[in-house]
């Protein structure tokens, strides 16, 4: 899934409207909106809030929203999500117009000095920049006290990056910023800001599309999604009826996978065992050996 994190409702509103997201009324901790493949959370301002919200969204996506996601490996599902942080940022220089969309390839946490690097595989036509994440809004006067030639600044990105380091691959986090001001954050008008976001929606939509393609490519090539639904049901039934331990179940999955990668369809062999029941693990082990031998004999 695409998990969008915005700090403010004005950043979320155009996205909710564009992607036709619906509020999940069962969640009260944060405003959460979703459709079939996008979930959006409004975190509030600051890197701690953004980190809490991103983690929260990831965890509900792996439990509550995960039923429709095919998943065999217990720990693989969390790697199926991409965090997308969309929000406004300030800029010290005027090389980009106000309202421009930039893609971030480095985030510096200005409190700790820690740098984070997302693997940016999408949005190749967008300008890419380093983003400095501060704990408070930065004005022109503040900038003069910072030892940097130029700066793009926000208050959420380093929180998102910390979550990504823990829970996703480096290519599964995208930080997109729209320049709202040249370090004069006090004079911002809500409607004007919404307008900037709405104007960038085609580009944002394109990025979301690319992220989906990337997720598709990733899951096709690198995750364990080679079992069909009926195979998964039979595998579960066999493991339960034959009292398989976790390790025995893994052996069975491995053997079936091997048979499939070799081009055979093991379903017929499996079907014959789906209704067999045993009373002990030892008995189950005998059946495991028998199934394995049959799967191997097939190739």
């Amino acid at each position: 899934m695409i998990l969008i994190i915005t700090a403010l409702m004005i950043e979320a509103a155009p996205l909710i409207e564009h992607f036709r997201l619906r509020r999940d009324m069962s969640i009260h901790e944060f405003p959460v909106y979703r459709n079939a493949d996008i979930a959006l959370i409004v975190s509030g301002v600051g890197k701690v809030r953004s980190a809490i919200a991103a983690t929260y969204l990831l965890s509900i996506c792996n439990t509550k929203y995960n039923k429709d996601i095919e998943n065999v490996n217990d720990d693989s599902c969390i790697k199926d999500h991409t965090l997308v942080n969309i929000g406004f940022c300030g800029a010290s220089e005027t090389q980009y117009e106000i309202g421009s969309l930039i893609l971030i390839n480095k985030v510096i946490d200005m409190d700790t000095g820690i740098d984070s690097y997302p693997d940016v595989f999408v949005g190749k036509d967008l300008p890419a920049e380093t983003l400095c994440c501060f704990s408070k809004p930065i004005s022109k006067e503040d900038f003069e006290n910072i030892n940097r030639k130029s700066v793009f600044c926000d208050m959420e990105s380093s929180g998102i990056m910390e979550v990504a380091k823990k829970f996703t691959y480096a290519h599964q986090v995208v930080i997109l910023k729209i320049i709202s001001d040249y370090l004069n954050p006090k004079n911002l008008n809500k409607e004007t800001l919404k307008g900037y976001l709405a104007k960038q929606m085609p580009k944002i939509e394109q990025i979301i599309k690319e992220v989906k393609q990337l997720n598709y490519y990733f899951s096709k090539n690198f995750t364990d999604k080679i079992f069909k639904e009926e195979e998964k049901i039979i595998l579960e039934a066999i493991s339960e009826n034959l009292k398989f331990t976790h390790a025995m179940k893994q052996i069975l999955l491995n053997e079936v996978k091997k048979a499939k990668l070799e081009g055979t369809e093991p379903i017929k062999i499996l079907e014959a065992y789906s209704k067999v029941k045993v009373n002990s693990k030892t008995e189950g082990k005998k059946f495991l050996n028998e199934i394995t031998a049959k799967l191997n004999a097939k190739d």
Partner: protein, 373 residues
């Protein structure tokens, strides 16, 4: 200026393009990779992101690379490990769109050769890496298990490498054997950074040093531009075309590699042929016998320095790490034996296959020129 010209020059356009196909936009991979053509535009975008250590900006190699890839995003970093050693990278995904990292290598710059590598009779066996990772994407490559990242790290402080090599060579009485491209492919990378151009004169001044450069590249520019050196060996890894297609993504075809072998021989280079890794598999087993005959019908055996031979093998830790990431790979789901921390085929099976293969190879190559691991 010469450096710049070297960086810009391209030979053997078609094969070079195939080598660069690994850098194509991820979206291209939804189509058949083999059909992907690299046009001028995408060639500029080979490295969308180039990370540069702050201290590396002033080195000539850095300047040349940044001048060449003017469309790349340049991201300054403190140390290459800040990017390269991140814990949440996906090797397979990065292989589709690798970034380049320009860095300064600190000590050690040379390493003693490990046992899983062939030493071809030299006891003073060292290896060095000017470059971490490789532009090719072989399914069996142990680098996937060795490094946390598929991004390419190119070290720019070549004078420090030269000093380290000189020091080792002058401290050793016996000749020193240096594998300079064992875990990468410097010849394939020549169009990006021509490391071998920078080291050529230096190698020629050290007769007590034997350098081996291993390659699957079909690029011929290096052999065309340089005279052969007595102490410089080009080791071509060859495999049946079916194995290349199945396991050696983005590498040139067998035909193209043979062309490069012939060019190197014609130009007087010492050429080693490496049949390594050999796969024992019902699908491939029968291919090897015909393959050896084909190779020596194309390449005159008398013009070969020697032959290296080895089975698919890998340190168990690397194997486990790769298996976890490549959960859909048949190669990493097969059953192997674990002997002394190395995953490979059972010894008896290896012996049996080796005997069959050697019976053919010995028709062409003397026994003392056949090195097996």
């Amino acid at each position: 200026m010469k450096l710049q010209q070297n960086l810009m020059r391209k030979t053997d356009k078609k094969e070079n393009n195939k080598e660069f196909a690994g850098f194509m936009d991820i979206q291209e991979h939804f189509r058949d990779v083999k059909d992907v053509k690299v046009d001028a535009k995408s060639e500029r975008e080979i490295f969308r992101n180039i990370y540069v250590e702050e201290a590396a900006f002033d080195y000539p190699i850095t300047k040349a690379v940044l001048q060449k890839y003017i469309h790349s995003n340049i991201i300054p970093i403190h140390h290459y490990k800040d990017v390269f050693n991140r814990t949440n990278q996906h090797y397979g995904m990065q292989k589709q769109y690798p970034a380049l990292i320009l860095a300064i290598k600190s000590d050690p710059l040379l390493y003693k050769g490990p046992d899983v590598c062939q030493n071809f009779g030299f006891s003073n066996f060292y290896y060095t890496s000017f470059l971490l990772n490789c532009i090719f994407d072989c399914e069996y490559c142990f680098l996937q298990g060795m490094y946390p990242s598929a991004n390419l790290v190119a070290f720019v402080n070549i004078e420090d490498f030269k000093d380290a090599i000189t020091k080792i060579v002058s401290n050793e009485r016996e000749p020193v054997y240096l594998a300079a491209s064992y875990d990468t492919d410097l010849i394939a990378f020549h169009g990006i950074i021509p490391y071998l151009d920078y080291f050529y004169d230096f190698f020629s001044t050290l007769p007590n040093l034997y350098v081996e450069v291993r390659t699957k590249s079909a690029g011929q520019i290096f052999y065309e531009e340089h005279a052969a050196l007595e102490n410089f060996i080009v080791a071509f890894t060859l495999a049946p075309e079916e194995v290349i297609k199945k396991y050696e993504k983005y590498t040139p075809s067998l035909k193209a590699r043979i062309k490069a072998v012939k060019k190197a021989i014609d130009k007087g280079f010492k050429v080693r042929l490496c049949f390594d890794p050999i796969f024992i598999d019902t699908e491939y087993e029968s291919l090897y016998e015909k393959f050896y005959d084909y190779i020596f019908s194309e390449i005159e055996p008398g013009k070969i320095l020697d032959v290296g031979y080895g089975f698919f093998r890998m340190p168990v830790d690397f194997y486990k790490r790769i298996k976890k990431q490549k959960s859909n790979s048949k190669l990493f789901i097969d059953d192997y034996c674990l002997i002394d921390g190395i995953v490979s085929y059972p010894t008896a099976l290896q012996e049996e296959v080796k005997e069959k293969h050697f019976a053919i190879l010995l028709k062409y190559i003397q026994k003392d020129k056949l090195f097996a691991l």
